[in-house]
């Protein structure tokens, strides 16, 4: 099944193996994710696209360890993260390796924490820094995300959606993760803020070797940011492969439909990128 682009030279960093998530029981049961095999290599940028309800977010929750799959498992550097016991919890010592940016910037920050406090808390938890040192490191991370020290003093309700998302990214970077899972991080922020966030993510991936799993319904963004892509439909992975190949020569009719529904898709099929850094 691995295509020519990935030749299995290295062990995947994070992998969902035959992961199925079933909601409901009996006749009402349905699979939000159905037998998904999805992996990300170290330093790789991978996309997951699909319409709403296709199981993208559930897949993200499974990969980040928020929710155990009903069947199958998630492997982090080759080791299964969910044990066979009833608890099925992500081991805490491994937590830092996989971080996440959530879809809704309005609920992903604690309303009672200043921006820097949210980041400093994660810094304290994983870098062993305390007090002023943790704050300095938090401010440095925030600045690298384009958040000024003045903005860092604000509570979330004083920040824009785009600023909040960048605070969330800074918080997610504090444990120095190996992979960042971004679940529709740009879907509720404005265009210019989207471009800024995408450029930051792209830069992180290229310069610091952070692997990114970018989940979106927006094919243009996925094309800009990722080199490999999975297409999901109603819980199934219907197509996967090199992003350029999938966009230029989609094999699955559903993928073709998705691509054709992008406004001005013919220009997107060429090598120009929608966002320039």
């Amino acid at each position: 099944m691995p295509n020519e682009w990935v030749t299995g030279m290295t062990e995947p960093l994070l992998e969902a193996r035959a992961a199925t998530v079933t909601y409901g029981y009996g006749g009402a049961a349905f699979n939000a994710v159905n037998d998904a095999n999805v992996y990300v290599q170290p330093g790789e940028a991978v996309g997951v696209v699909g319409e709403s309800g296709s199981g993208k977010t559930t897949l993200a929750r499974v990969l980040v360890g928020l929710q155990p799959p009903t069947k199958g498992n998630v492997l982090l550097e080759g080791k299964p993260i969910f044990g066979a016991t009833a608890q099925r919890k992500f081991p805490r010592s491994e937590r830092w390796k996989v971080q996440m940016v959530f879809q809704d910037p309005y609920s992903s920050l604690n309303p009672r924490q200043r921006a820097w406090e949210a980041v400093a808390e994660a810094v304290s938890a994983w870098q062993g820094l305390r007090g002023n040192q943790a704050k300095t490191e938090a401010l440095r991370l925030l600045r690298s995300m384009g958040i000024s020290p003045e903005q860092a003093e604000q509570f979330p309700h004083r920040l824009s959606g785009g600023q909040r998302q960048r605070v969330s990214v800074a918080r997610a970077l504090a444990p120095k993760p190996k992979i960042l899972i971004a679940d529709e991080p740009t879907s509720s922020i404005d265009q210019s803020a989207q471009a800024q966030l995408l450029n930051l993510l792209s830069q992180l991936q290229r310069e610091s070797g952070l692997a990114i799993l970018f989940i979106s319904h927006d094919l243009g963004l996925v094309r800009y940011l990722t080199s490999r892509v999975y297409v999901m439909k109603r819980g199934d992975v219907v197509e996967q492969g090199d992003t350029v190949r999938v966009f230029n020569k989609p094999e699955n009719p559903y993928t073709r439909l998705l691509i054709n529904s992008i406004p001005g898709h013919s220009s997107l099929a060429e090598t120009t990128l929608p966002y320039e850094s």
């Binding site: 980040v64 971080q99 808390e121 938890a125």
Partner: protein, 275 residues
């Protein structure tokens, strides 16, 4: 946390009235030992003197100055009510936060039955029941209030914590691998306590009336201590001849309750307007 200086200027009309009423009563309560030459628990002269000078509110059946007693009682009643709200608020909010985030359905289910059982009883009836067990007096009163009233705060805090549990910032704490204690103290409780405080303010009215009510019934503060409920009870046999023994403490109690209710209403309106 919002400082009072930022909150107060934004208060609306009713809340200003509430603050003004409470400020006058509390100020008189604090200043009465300086203002009044009389001792609240000693006779100050003849019995049943009608209100006038120097006995502004008259004297009672033992010749004690009713003005001095009324505001000495303000100190005691308001302090007791603050404590009677604070203990259950802290205990209940913490319990509710824990129960709202626990992943053990048996433990939380068992506690929920206890909470619902306590809340199902009429408030005063169960407080009297607990006072009967732990003994009357100031201490028994506070223990009884804490033992009963925490369940209401726990119910509110648990409901709020259950909502929060599905918020992305709580999911983020799991992804970041924070300990349960850290999630509870830094993420759940700071977002739960404001609802407890809002309820606490309206609860204050209930509690201060309960304290006076229990003392009126003879299971609260003991004589000769000046306490509104006890004073009302003392004056009741003489209501026709000496109305002032009963009416002044009753009026002050009512005004205090109204003041707190106005303040609570004003704060509620303000937070509604803001969100």
């Amino acid at each position: 946390m919002k400082s009072m200086t930022r909150v107060l200027p934004k208060l609306n009309g009713e809340a200003h009235w509430g603050v003004a009423i409470l400020a006058i009563i509390i100020l008189l309560g604090v200043l009465v030992p300086l203002l009044s030459p009389f001792n609240p628990i000693r006779s100050a002269g003849d019995t049943f003197i009608t209100p006038g000078m120097p006995h502004l509110f008259g004297t009672d059946q033992l010749g004690r100055d009713v003005f001095t007693r009324t505001f000495a009682a303000a100190q005691l009643d308001i302090t007791l009510a603050v404590l009677g709200v604070a203990f259950p608020l802290v205990i209940g909010t913490f319990m509710g936060g824990v129960l709202g985030t626990t992943r053990n359905p048996v433990v939380s289910g068992a506690w929920l039955i206890i909470i619902d059982a306590i809340n199902a009883f009429p408030f005063l009836a169960i407080v009297i029941g607990v006072v009967a067990m732990v003994g009357s007096g100031v201490q028994g009163l506070l223990i009884a209030l804490a033992a009963v009233n925490w369940a209401r705060y726990a119910k509110i805090a648990r409901a709020r914590a259950l909502q929060l549990r599905d918020a992305d910032f709580i999911h983020a704490t799991q992804v970041l691998g924070y300990s349960r204690v850290q999630v509870l103290t830094r993420h759940i409780l700071p977002n739960v306590y404001s609802e407890s405080l809002a309820y606490g303010l309206s609860d204050f009215v209930i509690v201060i009336i309960a304290i006076a009510g229990l003392s009126f019934l003879g299971v609260g503060v003991r004589p000769p201590e000046a306490e509104w409920g006890a004073m009302i009870s003392d004056g009741r046999p003489f209501l026709r001849q000496a109305w002032w023994i009963t009416v002044f403490p009753g009026l002050t109690l009512s005004l205090t309750a109204i003041g707190v209710a106005l303040l609570a209403q004003g704060l509620t309106n303000r937070s509604r307007g803001e969100d």
